[in-house]
Symmetry: D3
Subunit: 133 residues, 6 copies
């Protein structure tokens, strides 16, 4: 399934296997999800994507759970089924309660709705919303 | 500009003015932004949208700043210029620091990127990401 | 402005001018809107697009006003500012009342909202919604 | 399947069951489709969504079949598979003939095409398409 | 599956069968893929779509492989699963190597990422990027 | 304009200035376009984005002009006005002729159109388009 086959550990290059090892270490699990097994066809792309993801999703000014919910929000608006599934699972693993998930959905639905209304109205941006020059 | 003119307080119906009054009260400002002035052509739609927005964006299991950032994330993925401007301004008003804005952008960029990669790969969803039946 | 300059009647090829003439005749106006003036850089693309548009938007099982509103709906979801402006103007010219515009917006907003909810939920399609094999 | 399990009548709260009952009454069928069974995890979101949908999709200045076709158009542009399935089925139930479905598709295809062309050209909006101030 | 059943050769009209015959001749294969079998419900739409596709995808200033990769890029950004599958297969048939596919994915991911960043920043377009008037 | 002000060379950090210097060196021009001046508010994000872009857009199995056209295709489907402008300008600088631009637009328009048709039809993917397991 998909546009490339999923690669098992035996089938990937040494460079890709090193990325798999780092994913396992950072996440504390043996399981490598399908996205990485598909991306492993291009070890350089796999490595660049994982290194950047690890950096971006680490704790910072925003906590990791908020980051996962932001990821779900973007992925939903882009209609990426795989991403919605994987980052919803990640958000739950990081503590998203059913109440939080319900509010996440409500905000996504509200934003989608007003995105549509504003775009259909082609409302000009208020001056006060522009950053100071 | 736009597909309907913006309505001043003098030009709106009594029903729309009552909504404007509630927006002013809830937000603690006299300023009514353009979106509501455009939507006021249809007082019932204005009222339904505002009532729902007020409810959805209120403090709950998620705090209002997180909700504003989720709104920015969805609006960005949908390419809604007005919405990105207005909800970025709202997020700043609710305490989003430059560091938080930088991380918000980094997560949006990362999610957009992997949304594209996964969709181009058409990777099947891992069983473990599906909710229990 | 734009990625190509807009071409005046004097600047276009004979093939493009023939398309402009047909647009003028079919629409009963001398005015050629900017889209066609930009597209005129590639007369074959201009001609193919206009011929197809003329055909698709003609009266049929759906009336032209419904077709214009469908056009606005798609253009809104795609965030195409030019298209929302031009097809809203066309819909008004074909009889869209403020009440109809209000309902058009309400349906667009509702659809955007549930598109987001369903996508975030990744709800499986009911068997009864599939066409008979 | 999905990011939450589908809830049977036995598993939902009293508030959600009351919404299910209203869906059954309004639609004249015992069948509750999967979207509502997924949304029932958050009874307040379920109720708000259903109440609004019932209102927006009711006969008004636009007839219900036109509204369903607009819903299909938005859902297609957003790539929402579930929504395309369910609202195409609803449109058929409300009288959409094969001829109408063919024209709906042709308009969607045409709009998508010119959305792409205009966006690639970045054509500026004609003054005449702007609403009077 | 889908919103219309797939039509076998026996079930299509003479006009649709003539299109199938041309597809077979141009592509040098007996196989008609599902898209055309679904579209055959509306022979005029089938014919217009195929005739245009044949024209647009023919060798020209851009070679057919580049055109297939552009098709994959657009289809990915639009989240069209069927289109990503079919045009990735077509690109491979026209000589896309694994290295080229890897770079295609990397560019798609990069573009998605900066699309998100620019949209969140709402950066104004540099004057030098505008076409000369 | 935008959600952050554009930063002049005088206003950016040493880390951001080093990125500007590298952009100037690699591109052989003193001009720094607005995207980088906006992104400079977060020097780490600026650096990560530029480093990755430089890598991805370098000559490889695909030539840089093809990569720019792919970038335009994705940016168009995502409706990113800034990106369409900047990468169309880059493609022209790398040799895109008017004929090539015309064909690029024709492919984008065609892909958008069939993306819409397939999504509205919800056509199942042909087995032959799936990668071998």
């Amino acid at each position: 399934m998909g546009t490339v086959p999923l690669l098992s550990d035996d089938a990937v290059s040494a460079e890709a296997l090193a990325v798999f090892d780092d994913i396992r270490k950072v996440r504390g699990t043996e399981y490598i999800n399908n996205f990485w097994r598909a991306l492993a066809h291009d070890p350089a792309l796999l490595k660049a994507t994982w290194e950047r993801l690890k950096d971006v999703m680490a704790p910072g000014a925003l906590d990791p759970l908020v980051k996962e919910m932001l990821y779900v929000a973007v992925s939903t608006a882009n209609g990426c089924s795989y991403c919605v599934h994987s980052h919803t699972a990640a958000a739950k693993a990081k503590g998203m309660t059913p109440e939080m998930q319900g509010e996440l959905l409500a905000v996504i639905g509200m934003a989608m709705q007003t995105n549509g209304l504003v775009t259909a109205l082609q409302t000009p941006v208020d001056d006060m919303f522009e950053a100071e020059p």
